[in-house]
Symmetry: C2
Subunit: 118 residues, 2 copies
DNA sequence: TACGTAGATCGATGGCGGTTGATCTCGAGC
DNA sequence: GCTCGAGATCAACCGCCATCGATCTACGTA
């Protein structure tokens, strides 16, 4: 029936042949995909995403003592999340006197942002 | 010393007081953060990110039989990743005859994409 | 020196996630 | 009805991750 050919034109094949030619392929290379996956994984937690949101709205630095009380998690947990974000290159920090100040590195978000927008 | 006041003007306080007023806050609500975190988590794997990349470059549907050979993982693994993406609302699928066809739901990426671009 | 505080680290726990071989389901063709 | 293929599901393994109490370190102050 002609209907079959219209629905799956590429899959008429002899028995034993591979099901279809590889006509599709990813344009993003594996290395790029791995880099973006690292950033996505760092953003894959509501607390971390809100931490980045706070830091992005402040061009300068934000003291950890202002970040900790914003969330319903203990202080070691916030510290852990900030460490994960730093490990992904999304934020960095400086220590001055008693306090630690975190700030965003916007370049780290560019690749994923561009890919999502494309 | 005046230097101290310049470095941490907000942290001069009486003993026992909280370290600082909450002058910063996330603009993204927890619910939005949780929704975006779900999408980010779905993209937090190189195989899934490349799967989405392939599907986004095809306005229509792509047969699973074309997706599976693109990656160095077993068939159940690809099926699992597609299920994760479907669970996050990023893709959907239809079955016709023997084959399953997947396609992207671009709306699912909009919120995260807009937040990253903002 | 002694004490208090900011924040990072440690250790333990419980749950989630990626992977795969085996199996199951469903449709097609003989 | 039988067989075969596409793809989803199952079961199991293993490693990673979020969380938090306890502890540690560095600094400031009296």
């Amino acid at each position: 029936m002609a209907v079959d050919l219209e629905l799956t034109p590429k899959h008429k094949r002899a028995p034993g042949e591979p099901c279809c030619e590889p006509v599709v392929y990813p344009e993003v290379e594996r290395q790029e995909a791995e880099r973006m996956a690292v950033v996505a994984k760092a953003l894959a937690d509501p607390v971390r995403l809100q931490l980045v949101d706070v830091l992005r709205r402040h061009a300068g630095e934000v003291c950890v003592c202002e970040l900790t009380p914003l969330f319903d998690v203990a202080q070691p947990t916030v510290s852990h999340h900030l460490k994960v974000l730093r490990g992904a290159g999304i934020v960095d920090s400086v220590r001055r006197r008693l306090w630690a100040y975190y700030f965003v590195r916007p370049e780290a978000l560019e690749e994923l942002s561009d890919w999502l927008r494309s």
